[in-house]
């Protein structure tokens, strides 16, 4: 492509989750022009998909939506959603060594300038596909707005599953459907880049001890977030295989953290607290259910976290010290966990109606080969000054914040994002002074 469009900003933020939004807002409020590039169709990242958040137990949506909307309406912050990076580096053609990103706008097959977000297309679409926004636990249409509070409110067409029946095109009041939309490349030039690419859960398919994702009613923790969310797939907590209300729920901690055999030797830092939080929410919605958390060490290290943990114990949530060694399918959709009882009495197998794997965090983005920023042995972005400024990377105009620099909870992420915005602002004010 020869005539690629170039857009210029002060800062490019890669990733529109809570880290990206906060860092963009903190820079935008300083008067810098900040572009957020997000791979998903909506900003909001993992946080907008959560139910409630620890230790305050406030609704994740209510905490995230104001930040999403503040960024979306901020005059200094344009959003580029549903975009892929194809390269991100210093601009070698420019002596000022700014940041240059080549970006592909993926086709939504919907004209964003015409669409009014009315969802008529979604209602008429006859094709149902698995709804990944609900952890694959329910279905959505082949053309749909990803979730209710998505920003922007634009649908995406799942072109793989669309059968081109044309109904959406017919019903659309603004003629926004465009079956012929193509990926479009554009370039962003900026003085600085901030990497806020977040995390993914280690896939449960990778884990043979826990059934490689094949045992019914063994879900991962993000799926449980959806089950607990007020706008979740079933509007209540039901186990996926048969819609039964679970009486006994188990949490398996360190399922892919602190475990060299699973390739993740580090602690994922948030799983203890989210398991405790989910357990508390569950005991609220299923007061009669037994909830057990199998753990090695409870890491309730943050402000108010230990008290939260002690409250959970007082509520009757059972904590059992021991790493679950294996999970097998039991009768009637139950799952059997096997662990060592450390009082010396031997091995226990326990039946649970629903088992949640507190899967470890892995990086959401691998910079190689498109970006030369360096990674540590844990595959997260290297922080070259972890004491004085954990947001500095080996590239002087590239900064990092949030889970892109290692597993991190929301509280620490929000603070670190402010710190990244500060370092980027300092870098830009220095370069102004030097020029």
């Amino acid at each position: 492509m020869v005539s690629t469009h170039i857009k210029k900003f002060d800062t490019l933020v890669v990733g529109g989750g809570i880290a990206g939004l906060q860092t963009a807002l903190d820079l935008g409020d300083q008067g810098y022009k900040v572009a957020i590039v997000e791979k998903d169709a909506s900003i909001g990242g993992k946080m907008i998909r959560l139910s409630k958040v620890f230790p305050t137990l406030d609704c994740a949506s209510c905490i995230t939506t104001p930040k999403m909307s503040a960024a979306a309406h901020h005059k200094n912050i344009p959003l580029f959603t549903y975009c892929n990076l194809t390269s991100l580096d210093h601009d070698t053609s420019n002596e000022a060594l700014g940041v240059k990103a080549v970006i592909i706008q993926n086709p939504r097959y919907v004209d964003p300038d015409k669409c009014i977000g009315c969802r008529q297309c979604e209602y008429v679409c006859p094709i149902y596909v698995s709804d990944e926004e609900q952890g694959g636990l329910s279905a959505t249409k082949a053309i749909s707005i990803p979730f209710s509070n998505a920003i922007p409110q634009l649908p995406i067409m799942d072109i793989e599953n669309c059968m081109l029946c044309g109904q959406c095109e017919k019903v659309c009041p603004t003629n926004a459907i465009d079956y012929f939309q193509k990926p479009e490349e554009f370039i962003i030039q900026a003085k600085t880049a901030i990497i806020t690419t977040g995390f993914e859960l280690l896939p449960k398919e990778d884990n043979f001890q826990y059934g490689s994702g094949k045992i019914p009613n063994v879900v991962d923790s993000l799926q449980m977030e959806r089950l607990l969310a007020p706008h979740g797939p079933y509007n209540r907590v039901l186990r996926p295989s048969d819609g039964m209300e679970p009486d006994s729920i188990a949490y398996v901690q360190c399922a892919g953290s602190r475990d060299k055999s699973m390739g993740v030797p580090y602690c994922s830092r948030v799983c203890c607290m989210y398991a405790i939080k989910q357990a508390m929410l569950l005991s609220g919605s299923l007061p009669l259910a037994d909830i057990t958390i199998y753990y090695m060490d409870i890491r309730a290290f943050g402000k108010g976290y230990e008290q939260f943990y002690q409250n959970a114990k007082a509520m009757g949530i059972e904590f059992i010290k021991g790493k679950v060694a294996r999970i097998d399918a039991g009768e009637n959709g139950s799952a059997i966990v096997r662990y060592e009882n450390q009082d010396g009495s031997g091995i226990v197998t326990a039946n649970h109606d629903l088992v949640v794997l507190s899967m470890g965090m892995i990086p959401g983005w691998n910079p190689a080969p498109i970006c030369p920023v360096s990674k540590d042995s844990d595959h997260f972005i290297t922080s070259i000054k972890p004491k004085i400024s954990p947001v500095l990377t080996n590239m002087n105009d590239f900064f990092v914040a949030g889970a892109a620099a290692g597993p991190k909870d929301i509280v620490d992420t929000v603070t670190e994002s402010g710190s990244a915005a500060m370092e980027a602002a300092k870098f830009m004010s220095n370069s102004i002074m030097e020029n």
């Binding site: 580090y266 943050g302 230990e306 400024s389």
Partner: protein, 601 residues
């Protein structure tokens, strides 16, 4: 049809079809006809997409021609397009606050059908028009702000905050109560997990701060009074120098609390502490390792060869009511001190790597090596042959002096890793992993009305939405005055606080929402009920004014401090105070419009 009152405002109503989203369920043309008959409505128009350029043009033209002076748009949820229409009004040269929104998509056409939907849309428009009739142009409140920030506390968080803010062109005063910058960092050695020297980390920052021309450092200072509000605080400070007390005054736009924390000191007899010199705290051990010059296979402390060290975790942290002994003030440290696990393992690894024959036993409740590189410390400690034992909170290790052994101590612990067997560890040295305690800043906190949490640390507004801010606009917090943190975390908090302070002050003035309380001086009788009801101390005051030669009291709003919640409006017997843009009277008229089915007043 009655003659329209000329005193009233000229309201224009603009109703959106939303391409069928609204018009499929709401008879938009019928609603338009009804709207035309509403009091004060001078024009009603419809459009397929009111948010489109042609739709916005309708409003702009009517405003520019003087046909209307108030705008109601009936369309989708205000979260989507309220800002769009306010912008359009601005483009027409009008004040954006003469606008009211009627939500007839999310709250009408998408939830109701047929005639009831049309009727409800009508009523919502009538009530929006009733409110619009009472709307007045508003301007953002502009508060002049000094481009100056005061950072209280010269530890790592304070130093980093000061450097960061100064770098954005804002002058900074750093106030430190002692004569030395660096705070607790002065007492640390190799920092967990990667072993940077605390002194080098500190020196790197000191090199920056000491040469920075926009930062003034005031050591040996006590803050005696804080007054004012965002943009215009004033601090009275007393400075000790050469046995003299010098007074100084700082005028500042924002304040950052970075007052730090202190190590927990065990009570006398806690695991033998204070009764035997070989029972020490983690902080003591760090000092010993820092000053240690000896080499050899065994560590020496106080001239004694240390063959076995027992380290006890969670001393003064994670305390449980009914199990742990409270301090004299009845207080327990129920929180986790966050940094001690990694610091303890770091110290163990240093000892094992330099003095391999010294044996280490760590007694823990949970190992909390949560951070990046910390689990590796734990793994490394295991590889270094540190032995771990796990105790339950209600069965703490017991340290006793021995006479019949060549070890001074015997430490007994019920070890859950060994099937709850009682284990007996002879020891030469007992190290207590003492945690972090909040420093007493109650004096400063009460001067500035800063909230303190149940854990006695300073309390932020919200841990996720506003983690480095206080409810008092213009006052921020950073570092361990908020909660235990390690150096990197404190520096992140410092950066976050700095970015907020510099965004606030960068223009030299602050623009605040115009939605604040306003007193009608003709109605106010100076009862003071509003002041009692006000949720924000200082936002409302009674002042003496001269009316017709008599001195009377009247309520006065400090707009920069008002939250705009309306608590005052509810209690005024004279209805003399109300919230601009969200007035009680507006709601009353809206209710009138609702009960009269869209044809009020």
């Amino acid at each position: 049809m009655t003659e329209k009152n000329t005193d009233n405002k000229k309201v224009g109503v603009y109703i959106c079809y939303c391409g069928g989203n609204i018009s499929d369920h709401v008879d938009v043309e019928e609603v338009k006809k009804r709207a035309e008959k509403m009091p004060n409505v001078v024009v009603a128009r419809t459009n397929m997409f009111m948010c489109s350029d042609p739709g916005q043009e309708l409003i702009i033209n009517d405003l520019k021609s003087g046909k209307i002076d108030r705008v109601v748009v009936a369309s989708c949820a205000p979260s989507l397009h309220e800002a769009t229409f306010r912008d359009a009004i601005k483009r027409a040269g009008s004040n954006p606050f003469i606008y009211e929104h009627a939500n007839i998509r999310e709250q009408v056409s998408w939830v109701h059908h047929g005639e009831p939907a049309t009727d409800k849309a009508t009523i919502l428009i009538a009530s929006a028009a009733a409110k619009a009739n009472l709307l007045t142009p508003l301007d953002p409140i502009r508060v002049e702000a000094k481009k100056h920030t005061t950072v209280i506390g010269g530890g790592i968080a304070g130093i980093k905050t000061a450097i960061d803010i100064a770098q954005t062109g804002i002058n900074v005063a750093l106030i430190e109560k002692s004569s030395l910058l660096g705070g607790q960092l002065n007492n640390l050695d190799k920092l967990a997990p990667s072993g940077e020297k605390a002194s080098e980390v500190l020196q790197e920052l000191l090199d920056q701060i000491l040469t920075h021309k926009s930062i003034t450092i005031h050591t040996d200072c006590e803050i005696e009074a804080v007054q004012g509000y965002v943009g215009n605080f004033s601090l009275s400070i007393s400075k000790k120098s050469d046995n003299k007390i010098e007074k100084l005054n700082i005028e500042t736009g924002a304040i950052v609390m970075a007052t730090g924390a202190i190590p927990y000191i065990p009570f006398d007899g806690e695991f033998g502490f204070g009764q035997h010199e070989q029972v020490i705290t983690l902080q003591n051990l760090i000092q010993i390792l820092k000053n240690n010059k000896s080499t050899g296979s065994i560590l020496e402390v106080n001239g004694k060869r240390i063959r076995n060290i027992v380290m006890i975790h969670c001393v003064g942290s994670r305390q449980i009511p009914g199990i742990h002994q409270p301090k004299e003030d009845g207080k327990l440290n129920e929180y986790c001190s966050r940094t001690c696990c990694a610091a303890m393992l770091n110290a163990s690894n240093q000892i094992k790597e330099n003095f391999p024959a010294t044996r280490i036993y760590e007694m823990y409740r949970d190992i909390r090596t949560y951070g990046r590189g910390q689990e590796e410390l734990y793994t490394q400690a295991s590889a270094n042959k540190v032995v771990f034992m796990r105790y339950e909170a209600n069965a703490q290790p017991e340290v006793s002096l021995t006479r019949d052994s060549d070890y001074p101590f015997q430490v007994k612990v019920k070890d859950s890793l060994t099937f709850n067997e009682e284990m007996d560890v002879p020891a030469d040295l007992v190290v207590l992993a003492t945690g972090i305690e909040p420093d007493d800043v109650s004096g400063l906190a009460s001067m500035m009305k800063l909230p303190i949490g149940t854990d006695k640390f300073l309390l932020e507004v919200h841990p996720k939405l506003r983690p480095v801010e206080f409810p008092i606009t213009g006052i921020f917090l950073a570092g361990t005055c908020q909660a235990p943190m390690d150096v990197g975390e404190a520096c992140n908090a410092a950066g976050a606080a700095a970015v907020k302070a510099s965004a606030l002050l960068r223009k030299g003035f602050i623009e605040l929402d115009p939605f604040v309380a306003e007193v009608n001086p003709n109605k106010c009788q100076g009862h003071g009920a509003c002041i009692e009801a006000c949720l924000k101390e200082g936002a409302l005051t009674l002042v003496e004014v001269d009316i017709d030669g008599k001195t009377v009291k009247r309520a006065q709003v400090t707009a920069a401090m008002c939250l705009g919640c309306g608590a005052c409006a509810a209690v005024c017997p004279e209805k003399a105070i109300d919230i601009n843009g969200w007035a009680l009277k507006q709601y009353e008229d809206m209710v009138d419009a609702i009960v009269s089915d869209g044809f009020a007043v």
